[in-house]
Symmetry: C2
Subunit: 133 residues, 2 copies
DNA sequence: GAATGTCAACGACAATCTTCGTAAAAGATG
DNA sequence: CATCTTTTACGAAGATTGTCGTTGACATTC
């Protein structure tokens, strides 16, 4: 039957695509040259251009003219992309358990007291949210 | 230059690969037929076999003879795979901030008071761990 | 021992990703 | 205008993924 693909909600990004999206999210936007520089120039100019064209085709970025060059900018928010990626990981790797994900996340990482405090307040907020109404 | 690829530490799993690894992590092991059934049978037998062979080639799974069939089992632990995936997401999407990841994780999800309590105690443990030495 | 059923191996195929080379447009400079 | 430089467009090539069809091995059953 081979399931048609049509529009369909966005799948995850591949490694290289994510590299490029990461730059755009961080910087807000970028020309091909700027993105390439941000990547450390270890990829060719046309490669970066091609990836941006593919991402645009997929609806992940847009562009506007700026002088002779194009300025690319993200069309999908990082938080939404992150949410989808996390859902996938929670379901497929941590059997739906956010706790286990959190445990793995904090394993092997160092946190300041302030960071931990802020994470606690995130949990506080969630708890209050779920309280009644 | 084209960086040689040789051995290199494991990259992430693709969607279909992750489907299959997910089954093996959950069940502990499986024959081709078992994995296929767990996937809902919407993929052909040879497809599942092929994916397992590819995963084996990558070192993600192993197999042993069981009667006439092979029994496949994971060689990479789910927690390690999860850790790598999380690192990638933290760095590329959340700009290195585990807090922001946590905020996104708990957004749009419902948690019981017990779950939140357990997540708090995970943070407690991390805090005590980092206290002095 | 011939037919049937289960299973792995092999190879084909299309789709996608990633990499560029080359060409072409278009402004800048002599 | 001829030539450089910057930039996009086109398309090809290699690698990987995901899908199977076919074949052949091997065991079970008549």
């Amino acid at each position: 039957m081979t399931r048609k693909r049509e529009k369909q909600e966005p799948k995850g990004f591949t490694d290289r695509e994510l590299d490029i999206m990461s730059v755009l999210w961080r910087e807000g936007s970028g020309t091909v040259t700027e993105v390439r520089e941000a990547l450390g120039e270890d990829v060719g100019y046309t490669t970066v251009l091609k990836m941006l064209q593919i991402l645009e085709e997929k609806g992940a970025v847009g562009h506007e003219q700026e002088g002779r060059a194009y300025r690319y900018f993200p069309l999908v928010e990082s938080v939404r992309a992150g949410g989808r990626a996390l859902t996938r990981i929670v379901n497929k790797i941590f059997h739906g358990s956010a706790e286990r994900l959190l445990a793995t996340l904090v394993e092997d990482r160092e946190f300041s007291a302030e960071e931990i405090a802020r994470m606690r307040s995130i949990l506080d907020r969630v708890e209050r949210r779920g309280d009644d109404g």
